[in-house]
Symmetry: C2
Subunit: 336 residues, 2 copies
């Protein structure tokens, strides 16, 4: 089966929002007047970003989800995407579920596949996604990393750390009860891009990003871009791992250290971390309700540079936790 | 050297036209009012689209050139691009010249690198490029594949077949004099995207595409999209290979068959093929002069489906040339 047949069979659908979709030299998009175009690109490589035997439908979902997550972090409304795909061979048993998982998520967000490329090569999925952000009174409503100010609260959406828990179990680093693994694996393989929350936070959040490499490592990008520091309350953060609710936690199957490591530096969560002034707490909760997405306040932005981890009593964590910051920063530097 | 250091060192430059460039979750582009956005994505894989030992500066040039060529085929004005790059290892001796070649071509076209991704993996370069096409009186000025009409002339820009000649020489299929190889290799490794010509042809050409897989194979896309057929004058086409001018041609080093095969189904030319009414011949030549790009009229569009190859006397080519059409169509189906 040749390249053009593949494209036609699995990835060509009539253009709806786009002026011209798949099948010419370029796709043509009609920008909405009064908007900026948000663009992001992510490349997923077999063996690095996913296991070789991953469910192709889940992979199709995740490949787009990680890109939609970038749009969410900007507060952008998804519009369209391109897909470039290198495949070792044209394998319909793989392509059919992959395109099904991909296009189901695309449809759920009204994000249209408008073009791309397919070629023979080691499995590689590169998606570039386009979204729109309103410009109001000449001012872009995009959420950036650079807007955090001392005194702002720090929030994260949803749950953190379960994807890492699943990854460790699949790698054989730890053993999980079957029901915990199934739940955690959903988080690893089918992350939920927080698109509605990102849009609801326009005009509310001062800074935002999505968590792909791990909370502390990613938070550094906001701190650096904004020229600030932060304090995180680990007694709150520890509760963010969904698996904490499992009886196995009570029986000591997951230690406090394991849970905290998953939450603080787990990666692959695709939740949003964002900041907002204390005066905006009601507005943040209203945005969370509007987006039907839970958010948790986990710390505050400081004028003093650096990231501090404290316990419930406000004391700095010592021992191995003191090194989380460094560990996470290093991990992030080599992670996808 | 970690991912973020790499990005910072080789690919981060201040945003100029974009509202926000490399370094946040998304780049932000400001669409020009009254334009459509043209988008194209191409993925280049080591061993398939380029040799492992190719000059990294030439590869950087070519990776962007093939994308700019898609914009040219649409008549779009380049604006910005994203780069997703999988590298086996962070090798500065490779990255420095690669980024130099890439950004030199980007600068020449005012096309800004606004974002992307880097990861560890088998060498893979995926560029997504953005351009703008004016909308005049509610009508997009984009050049599509679907506008060719019976009676239109068929043109190609520049020269054809030299890239394939170089490829065959580098593969050891044929031997070339050193000066011919050097010239042909430039065409293979540093193609010239016909961006100015594409823009000059807005409102003049009825259909256009860029030649990546080979003239006859690619021309089929116009014929299919436009619901027409075509006749190509091979006595004109044969002159399109620049190496024809070399004395070696006269001494029989390149046979007529070899030259015609390179021209008709060589691939990797990145010239434009386009159609225009006979009444627009002066306008086509004016566009060519404006873009400082030679164009050659090589055939005509017919109402009758199919592609016919004729000689100087208007006779159908028989023998092996009769199969060029089929050969090219098959080659195109498995080519990048």
């Amino acid at each position: 089966m040749g390249e053009f047949d593949l494209i036609a069979r699995y990835f060509t659908r009539p253009a709806t929002r786009a002026a011209l979709g798949v099948g010419d030299d370029c796709a043509l998009l009609r920008p909405t007047p009064g908007t900026q175009l948000a663009v992001s690109s992510d490349m997923l490589v077999e063996g690095r970003h996913f296991f070789t035997d991953v469910d192709p439908a889940a992979l199709g979902h995740k490949a787009l989800a990680v890109n939609l997550s970038d749009l969410a972090a900007c507060g952008a409304t998804p519009v369209a995407f391109t897909l470039a795909l290198a495949l070792p061979r044209a394998n319909e048993a793989w392509l059919a579920p992959f395109s099904r998982g991909l296009l189901a998520l695309a449809d759920a967000h009204g994000c249209e596949l408008v073009g791309g490329d397919t070629t023979q090569g080691p499995l590689n999925i590169c998606i570039t996604v386009f979204g729109e952000v309103p410009v109001v009174n000449g001012k872009s409503q995009a959420l950036l990393r650079s807007g955090a100010r001392a005194g702002d609260d720090i929030y994260v959406s949803g749950t953190l750390g379960d994807a890492r828990l699943a990854l460790d179990a699949l790698r054989g680093v730890l053993a999980l009860p079957a029901d915990v693994l199934a739940q955690a694996r959903q988080r690893l393989e089918r992350p939920t891009p927080r698109v509605a929350l990102g849009q609801a936070l326009r005009g509310v959040a001062t800074a935002a990003l999505d968590l792909s490499d791990g909370l502390t490592g990613d938070l550094h990008h906001i701190l650096k871009a904004s020229g600030v520091g932060a304090t995180l309350d680990t007694s709150v953060a520890i509760g963010l791992i969904a698996a904490s609710a499992h009886p196995a936690c009570a029986t000591g199957l997951f230690s406090l250290e394991q849970r905290l490591q998953c939450v603080l530096s787990g990666g692959d969560d695709y939740e949003l971390a964002f900041t907002a002034p204390a005066s905006a707490r009601a507005a943040v909760q209203a945005a969370a309700r509007q987006a039907d997405t839970p958010v948790t306040r986990i710390g505050r932005i400081d004028a003093e540079p650096g990231l501090r981890l404290i316990d419930a009593d406000g004391q700095s964590l010592g021992g191995q936790f003191a090194s989380f910051d460094h560990f996470s920063a290093s991990a992030a530097a080599t992670a996808p």
